[in-house]
């Protein structure tokens, strides 16, 4: 936890941020409209006596009081997917449309892949890429349980993903996962500047490839579940010669602007258009999201 001290200057109400690290997160789920209408699912939960609350900012998100929502019949039937609340943000910022071709460069276990598939109403094509064979099985099983019929799975190193035409690319990059600490407090002890530097090299490679693959005017969303500026703003800054940023914001969810300065280094002013989601501001996990338009 001491490692978080490096963020004292950048995270507002830092003491509250520290406090909430030890509060467990409520289970949240996304209603899967690939298989069931939202209203019918809500009715099923009510009739089944399963207590839930709808998320204020996203019509398809619910908070469940169940300890093990993965054991609900609705989960087995693929009517809901267990997904952390702020992890539902990046697909909404990507904004895929039915009939488009979308690349999800770092896809497993597929929470965002299937949300994209749902936003596309099972039409068009989602190319879900995941290099790790063992993680592909979770991705596949989620796509099948949720009834995604417009998803193909590829297995490339995202930095070398072959040249294809795509309308939108999501880079939900591997990261130091500090934003998951409320689920797994051990995370802080695995973090170090060195680890973030190493990840940043990979993340930069992935984002550069994504920008290369998008068509001119195409949308690229870069997201992580970490606070480390090395893995966020500094990565995004590296592609600002070939893409421009757009504002990330969702009504009902509080975000902080991206950093324009870190450890004495002045960064591009444009980076304030990125969004930082902090756990104590919405009672969620932590996330970073940037939306880029290829020039």
């Amino acid at each position: 936890m001491d490692y978080a001290e490096r963020y004292r200057e950048i995270i507002p109400e830092f003491d509250r941020f520290q406090e909430i690290q030890s509060c467990p997160l409520a289970a949240t789920a996304r209603i899967n409209e690939l298989k069931i209408d939202r209203s019918r699912l809500l009715e099923r939960l009510r009739v089944g006596g399963i207590s839930f609350e709808q998320l204020g900012w996203y019509s398809h998100g619910i908070r469940l009081s169940s300890e093990k929502p993965g054991k609900l019949l609705d989960y087995m039937l693929g009517f809901i997917h267990i997904q952390e609340e702020v992890s539902m943000v990046p697909p909404l910022i990507l904004g895929p449309l039915p009939g488009e071709r979308v690349l999800d460069l770092c896809a497993s276990p597929g929470g965002k892949t299937t949300q994209i598939s749902q936003m596309m109403k099972n039409q068009g094509l989602v190319v879900a890429n995941e290099p790790s064979l063992s993680r592909i099985s979770a991705l596949r099983s989620n796509c099948e349980r949720l009834g995604a019929l417009n998803v193909v799975i590829t297995r490339y190193d995202g930095r070398q993903f072959p040249e294809i035409d795509v309308d939108r690319v999501l880079v939900d990059a591997p990261c130091s996962s500090e934003g998951r600490a409320r689920r797994d407090p051990g995370i802080w002890s695995r973090c170090s500047p060195k680890r973030s530097q190493d990840l940043a090299a990979l993340q930069t490679g992935l984002l550069k490839r994504a920008v290369k693959l998008a068509k001119p005017g195409g949308v690229i969303v870069y997201s992580t579940c970490t606070y480390a500026p090395e893995e966020n703003e500094l990565v995004v800054q590296s592609v600002l010669d070939s893409a421009r940023l757009e504002q990330v914001a969702l009504p009902g969810l509080k975000e902080c602007p991206g950093l324009t300065e870190w450890q004495g280094r002045i960064l591009s002013d444009e980076l304030k258009l990125c969004a930082r989601y902090y756990p104590h501001q919405n009672d969620t996990g932590g996330f970073f999201v940037a939306r880029l338009i290829k020039e």
Binding site: P69, L125, G147, L149, N150, V152, I153, I164, D165
Partner: protein, 147 residues
């Protein structure tokens, strides 16, 4: 690629699916399985999977997957079984049970309270759950909670 009308004919013959249920999809055969995918132009790269694995041709008769029945099984008009809640729990736990019904022997679409639970095998008056292990809901096993 596989001729969609061949696939449709198999499903129509066994489950009485109405015309048009498979329109807008294409089918691929890989090894002994058929996969279903939205009919879209595919970039020429290499793939691990294409859409959803819908049936296995490994044995006779061909076998539908639970995930495909959860999508297309709701249109079935033949060889369907409707369970009550006790029977459904047994089925979900992966068990077999005696069940009088008027299905033909072979694979059936198993329903509970209007929803398709998945694939069962009906044989000698018994319904044998075909739910894959990771989809079963044994009473006190861990659910998974990926993000």
């Amino acid at each position: 690629m596989v001729d969609p009308s061949d696939i449709f004919e198999l499903w129509r013959a066994r489950f009485g699916l109405p015309d048009g249920v498979f329109s807008g999809y294409r089918f691929f055969r890989r090894a002994q399985s058929i996969w279903v995918l939205r009919d879209e132009k595919l970039p020429r790269i290499s793939y691990e999977t294409l859409g959803l694995r819908m049936m296995s041709l490994k044995d006779r008769p061909w076998k539908p997957t639970t995930c495909a029945l959860q999508v297309f099984g709701k249109y079935a008009t033949r060889n369907t079984v409707h369970l009550d809640s006790v029977q459904a729990s047994r089925f979900l736990a992966g068990e077999s049970q005696h069940l009088p019904c008027d299905c033909e022997p072979g694979y059936v679409v198993v329903f509970y309270s209007g929803e398709v639970l998945g694939c069962g095998l009906y044989s000698h008056g018994k319904l044998i759950s075909q739910l894959p292990k990771e989809r079963r809901m044994a009473s006190c096993e861990d659910g998974d909670g990926d993000t």
